[in-house]
């Protein structure tokens, strides 16, 4: 190609920009405002478009693609309902800080504000749930805006970015040049931690008698699993992960005490309650993690590492804030630690570990493994064993999500894909589709429930069209289990509208979509069914496990209670 720049139409610029950005997959749904772009898509092979069945599915699939790969997920939809259908998916990505770029078509510039057909103020509608958004006003701005969108979505604390493109922009032409870099005077994320603060942190770490490491999704987002693991092992401290942080530290390691929070382990929550130094790493002190703020870590000095200054001292005042990228900060902190001779030794920490071992001895995740009626925990444990802990697990929201987090031990990051912040039912199936598209050779399973699964079920059709096989594990208890659990505990078992009457026959349903359906009703059949499903290479296998409808998630801290006020399953209440 010669030196002179090519003149391209906006629609072609869009495709070329994606290609130059290194984007290989695009989840989308066509419509009037994006027809020029879809015509340009038709004429090329660089970017593969996956046609979803509902725009929400596109956002969840692209979001999960980003969670699994670390690369930005990309969505293309039309104006109006195309854009509004994306809002739940955008908000889901926003709450979990996922790099997602959503391109929405818009009515032609001269019709904006005119209540035109399929017009909605996409920039206005999405503003509260995006990291940033753009309306493209000239074709000359298109390439640079796309570059900025990817830059903002993927740097600093990642998040979703919406780019609204009026139809006439995609028809206009200009010279194409994709910027090599971006410099925005108003946006400069801080990567390196403040040296003085890090030195203060090391002092505090050296003085710890009952230390605790609490790490969250930030450790995964910054690809800091190796740094986190070596930091933790170097110190010999106990570590807990949040729901979003599972896998950043190996779940089977002896220093790992399990997930913390509302449905965290007894040992993790008790260790939080009694620690004297807490090192919070890429975590945001969410209410499901902290419980009652007044009773949170009552005797601890707190170090908090986070790239977002607004996460620091938002819910819990901290003693030593370190603003920076987790990976950078942990590297620098580790280097500082190496020069110290006075760090707590294994012997110093022995009384603390003895205490933790005692808490561990409670075996808070114990359940009836001999039950003939299928226990949902049993299905997750069997899946864990059969996949050797190495599968990509997506989930929906509710009891099954908690059981998946408790009983599947994630040793690697980016394997656990769930909507932690927003809690979006309907996330799991399209998420599994997105992950499998990114990693066709990996094992992918969606752990879901009978209420969640029907919220984005239509994507089974997409899976058939593109040959995207995975296993759907439907823990079917005929209830919105988590709602039922709360109604049982806090509303005297008045099960108001939490019972799923008139559920479909999931086997036939899967078959009608061209996939494979199975219904399993006895514990003895769980393993063989899972084995069969995991061996299927072409279609989705939908296993409808008929599980114990009375099972609840334990341990549990009721909303607004302290970490030490946990409930274990009913017949083993603590004194």
């Amino acid at each position: 190609m010669g030196k002179s720049k090519e003149v391209l139409r906006g629609a072609e610029i869009f495709i070329r920009a994606l290609k130059d950005e290194g984007i290989k997959h695009l989840f989308g749904y066509p419509g009037g405002s994006v027809l020029h772009i879809y015509d340009a898509l038709y004429k090329q092979d660089d970017v593969e478009h996956i046609l979803v069945r509902h725009e929400q599915g596109a956002t969840h699939a692209a979001d999960a693609y980003a969670r699994a790969t670390g690369e930005p997920g990309v969505v293309l939809v039309t104006s109006g309902p195309g854009a509004t259908n994306c809002v739940t998916g955008i908000a889901t990505a926003y709450m979990d800080s996922i790099p997602l770029v959503v391109f929405t078509g818009q009515v032609p510039t001269h019709l904006i504000g005119n209540d035109a057909f399929q017009e909605v103020d996409a920039v206005g509608v999405t503003r509260p749930c995006v990291k940033h958004n753009f309306l493209v006003k000239n074709v000359e701005d298109l390439a640079a805006t796309i570059k900025k969108a990817f830059y903002v979505a993927t740097t600093g604390r990642p998040g979703p970015v919406v780019v609204d493109i009026p139809k006439d922009i995609t028809a206009d032409s200009c010279e194409y040049e994709y910027p090599k870099s971006v410099d925005m005077r108003s946006y400069k994320p801080v990567m390196k931690g403040h040296t003085g603060q890090m030195k203060r942190a090391v002092e505090l770490i050296a003085s710890a008698k009952r230390p605790m490491i609490y790490s969250g999704g930030g450790a995964i987002l910054s690809n800091a699993d190796k740094e986190l693991t070596s930091f933790t092992r170097k110190l010999g401290f106990p570590i807990t992960n949040t729901l979003m942080g599972l896998g950043a530290y190996p779940g089977t390691d002896k220093q790992f005490v399990g997930m913390l929070g509302m449905h965290g382990t007894y040992e993790a929550n008790m260790a939080m309650h009694q620690c004297d130094v807490l090192i919070a790493i890429g975590a945001r002190f969410d209410d499901r993690v902290t419980g009652d703020l007044e009773q949170f870590c009552p005797s601890a000095k707190i170090i908090h590492i986070d790239i977002d200054p607004s996460s620091i001292s938002k819910n819990i005042p901290v003693d030593i804030p370190i603003v920076g990228d987790v990976k950078h900060v942990l590297r620098d902190l580790s280097a500082l630690l190496d020069s110290r001779k006075d760090l707590p030794t294994a012997k110093d920490l022995e009384p603390w570990w003895d205490q933790i071992k005692e808490w561990r001895g409670i075996d808070c995740l114990k359940y009836d493994r001999e039950s003939e009626i299928i226990k949902p925990q049993f299905v997750v444990e069997k899946l864990y064993e059969l996949t050797k802990g190495d599968a990509y697990i997506t989930s929906d929201v509710g009891q099954h999500q908690m059981w998946a987090a408790q009983y599947y031990k994630f040793d690697k990051p980016r394997r656990w894909i769930n909507s932690g912040g927003l809690g979006t039912m309907g996330f799991g199936l399209p998420a599994a589709m997105g992950v499998k598209k990114a990693f066709p050779d990996e094992t992918v399973a969606c752990i879901t429930g009978d209420a969640s699964i029907v919220m984005c079920l239509q994507e089974l059709s997409t899976c058939l069209q593109y040959g995207i096989p995975f296993t759907v594990i439907n823990l079917n208890n005929r209830y919105m289990g988590m709602v039922r659990q709360w109604q049982e505990f806090f509303y005297e078992s008045r099960y108001s509208h939490s019972y799923m009457e008139a559920l479909p026959d999931f086997v036939k349903l899967a078959e009608s979509y061209g996939h494979i359906g199975m219904r399993i009703e006895k514990s003895a059949d769980v393993e063989s069914a899972l084995k069969e499903a995991l061996n299927e290479k072409e279609k989705v296998v939908f296993i409808d496990f008929i599980t114990d409808e009375t099972e609840n998630v334990y341990p549990m801290i009721a909303a607004g209670k302290g970490h030490h006020e946990m409930h274990l399953s009913p017949n083993r209440e603590l004194a």
Binding site: G124, R127, K131, H132, L135, V152, S186, S310, S313, K314
Partner: protein, 162 residues
């Protein structure tokens, strides 16, 4: 406590609504807000008056800084500063009341900028409490219309926000 925040931000459409949206979404309050381009037409300067505990003000400042369009946020309360507000006020001014109002305007160093047989329109600048004091000195039934600009603020001394 009341704080005056000064913001430099990209002069882009929607920038104002990002700030306003942040305040409503996180239940912070805005007492007044003024915005206009600076000597650099690509940059707008906003002065925002809010109130809250130190923790709340810290969060507001952090969240404003996080907005991609915001270039800089300064809490003017952190140093000595000057604040001014412009008020345009239309008063009923008849008979011997006319002279009385004119004297009051002089005392407050305002200016009468429009006159009819029955009314005065007055321009006055100052800190917010001075404008409040002027309004309180008037007979309520003489007040026909009040237009206040909201606070603009600037730091004292050599320091300049750029």
């Amino acid at each position: 406590m009341r704080h005056i925040l000064s913001l430099l931000m990209e002069n882009e459409t929607g920038a104002l609504s990002r700030v306003a949206g942040l305040f409503s979404a996180r239940a912070y309050n805005i007492e007044s807000l003024t915005v206009a381009p600076t000597e650099d037409p690509t940059v707008s300067r906003m002065t925002l008056v809010t109130s809250g505990s130190d923790e709340v003000i810290e969060q507001i400042t952090k969240h404003l800084n996080k907005l991609v369009d915001v270039i800089k946020v300064i809490d003017l309360n952190e140093s000595r500063h000057i604040e001014r507000e412009l008020m345009l006020i239309k008063l009923q001014a008849k008979g011997k009341n006319r002279e009385e109002i004119k004297r009051l305007v002089d005392i407050f160093r305002g200016r009468i900028i429009d006159v009819t047989e029955n009314t005065y329109t007055i321009e006055m600048t100052g800190a917010g409490d001075k404008l409040d004091a002027f309004i309180n000195a008037l007979d309520e039934k003489d007040i026909l219309e009040v237009v206040r600009s909201g606070i603009s603020g600037i730091a004292r001394g050599d320091k300049a926000i750029q």
